[in-house]
Symmetry: C2
Subunit: 430 residues, 2 copies
């Protein structure tokens, strides 16, 4: 049954992920051939620095001219693991134009220009697969867009950035502050020299955009995602969280509004109860919690980054795309038929944990409570602690729109008796 002409794969990028993809394509060639129904051959590898040694890849396959490689005309599948917007975008569209399907791990590009890429793929009858773009090795894109294709997904909530989870887990376990935990993450290779994309939530926001689009069958772009980093989470926040039976995680949350007529997508640190499955996700692991009408609550857990795990996701897509090529078919394309609008952060309804530094004198609590009431934010619990004329008030609210909470905090800051707002944190997963 097996076809003898091999399927030809062009690899764009040969860093941590690309070199693993090339390695596994070589060492597991027989398995891949059996699973696809035809052999696959690495036909070319485009890199920026050809002098850098790459174990196991024949020198004659290496080129610096990525455009010429994708234009060769005999390439069946292009694997793009360069990252970033350009030249990745141009190379991918060129690949489609020249009859190649594309497997990509490029979350930034998919979050920004997914619709354009999907349209190009469809126009040329090619596949666009990108399991590796979200949560590394964890099968997530395929379960969402295929396994749950007969269900209605209401919420996707996940830890989709390993660097920040490592830092927060370290802070939680050791009582360390943010800087100290970041230093450890950097020393161990979990954080990059410039950690901005991770700690400011840009990476997670790109993944949230991709997940929201797939989950709700609508278009969600990076700009639609509300984003707050986790650099201001303190040891005091973790102490407060513990008192509530919670921990703190940087979460990507994609929700369908209660009326079903809009969706939201956001990334921010949040308290979650220790009993929630996401609370026990340690170190640099990722996990995504999915709530669907019929399926109920599902969770997907695993390594969210790293060369080999990401390569596993790329190769799973490669097998699928190659099988589609042999079948002269394509897999699922963009599904954006619901055209649900993305609501702003102010419309998100959730709970809040607010720490205030206040004057330690009678009547302060009454003043503060009045401000909450005036903004329609109902208080669940208040904890008051005083010492030396200073006091702190910790308020936990019932569910309220984010805009109402913002208004409340603005008004609180204007009170003479409120010396400062020490922290505001959302409470999720209850």
């Amino acid at each position: 049954m097996m076809r003898t002409r091999p399927l030809k794969v062009a690899l764009l990028g040969c860093g941590v992920v690309g070199s693993e993809v090339a390695r596994i394509m070589t060492t597991h060639a027989d398995d891949l051939a059996a699973r696809i129904g035809a052999p696959v051959e690495l036909a070319g590898v485009a890199v920026r620095r050809p002098d850098k040694v790459r174990g196991g890849i024949p020198a004659e396959l290496i080129t610096t001219d990525a455009t010429a490689l994708v234009k060769r005309g005999d390439i069946d599948v292009v694997v793009e693991v360069i990252g970033g917007i350009e030249p990745a975008r141009s190379l991918i569209t060129t690949a489609f134009e020249h009859g190649a399907s594309v497997v990509s791990a490029n979350k930034a590009l998919l979050a920004q220009d997914g619709a354009t890429l999907y349209a190009a793929a469809e126009q040329h009858g090619q596949d666009l697969y990108y399991e590796a773009a979200v949560a590394g090795a964890i099968p997530l894109i395929r379960p969402l867009r295929e396994s749950l294709a007969g269900d209605k997904i209401n919420r996707v909530m996940g830890i989709v950035n390993g660097t920040t989870n490592f830092i927060l887990d370290k802070m939680d376990n050791s009582g360390a502050g943010y800087s100290e935990a970041l230093d450890e993450a950097t020393a161990l290779g979990y954080a990059e020299a410039d950690p901005t994309a991770d700690v400011e939530g840009f990476d997670a926001a790109a993944k949230a955009a991709i997940l929201a689009g797939i989950a709700f069958h609508t278009r969600v772009r990076l700009d639609d995602v509300y984003r707050e980093g986790m650099t201001e989470v303190t040891a005091a926040d973790f102490a407060s969280a513990k008192q509530m039976g919670c921990t703190i995680k940087l979460l990507a949350i994609c929700e369908r509004a209660a009326d079903g007529e809009s969706v939201t997508a956001r990334v921010h640190p949040a308290m979650i109860p220790l009993s929630h499955p996401l609370a026990s996700v340690r170190e640099a692991y990722n996990a995504v919690f999915v709530e669907a009408d019929a399926a109920g609550q599902l969770m997907f857990y695993g390594p969210g980054a790293g060369g080999a795990p990401t390569a596993s996701a790329v190769l799973g897509d490669l097998v699928a795309v190659c099988r589609n090529k042999l079948n002269e078919a394509t897999g699922p394309g963009e599904s954006a038929y619901t055209q649900l609008p993305v609501s702003p952060m102010g419309d998100v309804v959730t709970r809040y944990h607010i720490s205030l530094d206040v004057a330690d004198k009678p009547g302060v609590l009454a003043q503060v409570a009045t401000v909450f009431a005036e903004h329609g934010v109902s208080i669940d619990t208040v904890r008051q602690q005083g010492k030396d004329g200073e006091a702190s008030l910790v308020v936990v609210t019932h569910r309220a729109p984010d805009a109402a909470l913002s208004g409340t905090v603005e008004a609180l800051r204007k009170l003479d008796t409120v010396r400062g707002v020490a922290s505001i944190m959302r409470v999720e997963g209850e």
Copy 2:
């Protein structure tokens, strides 16, 4: 782009799962049509008792003649949720012969005759999908056979039976014995009137056979799976587990041997460390832990049974199979190219926790230790507790073949100083 002639679906069985499938097909018809690219129509429902009221299904669709329904010739997809071997097997093969693909939730049939069904599907160019057969709503079959198609899976270890997990979780939390916990499970509807299939591990064994076959690309039949139920797990076992920082779960474990030349599949209760992700799977939830060469450790978690969750899995498959029909293609068929043999339980290598009732006199430990040594089973720790001339010895071993452990226990029983073997439990997940 949308085709107007609907795809026709025949539903075999309309119990807890089937009625949910029918309900969602009606209430979510527009979503399903958009996701498939063509409308789907419920063309007939075969039941045994047509008088039983079934909300929402037009009476003219209901028939007692399942065979005539699958032979009609205009059916695109048959959804089989009858369960059991016959008539399900004949109906499925008849469906293939008459040009229909099949979505099944029938674990018993797939574990016993999967190869025959796959061959029939391939012969007639049809699809056989069965996500719902293992772990209900949890996307597992598709991730294993598609997402991880480019990776090498070494172990699949899971809680795949909700009834027994509910009972064990109850025993763990309340200190209840097996009978008491079973009674509660029955009262709450988690256990059937005759719980044999669940508590004796037959249900889990069928799922283990299916998972092992997919994970290792070989044929594993129900008879190949070693099976031990959980009816003999006691409150004392849970107390011992706690002392070791463990809990007890009924696990389905599929492993590739260290030399890669064979596989094993087994179901039995086992101690696992509280730190293992499977330890915190509560109530009737299921979870499956997968270890692969490149991906590392993954876990899939969710509801393992119930009408709506199982229907979610069925409908995800229905969308995929319908899309394949429109593409005139088929999805992945059986992948059994490795033809790895299934080794017997004696070849499984793991650790053991053994409780012995012994005479409380000098020299007993030396005798017992000698027996372990003679059988090549290395002891990790021993805990000795004595009172009133009686004593107990708790031995935890290093990794050893199951056959060596069985030989050890047989020899221990023959010692005059050993009054009885109170329990033997495997220790996994370390």
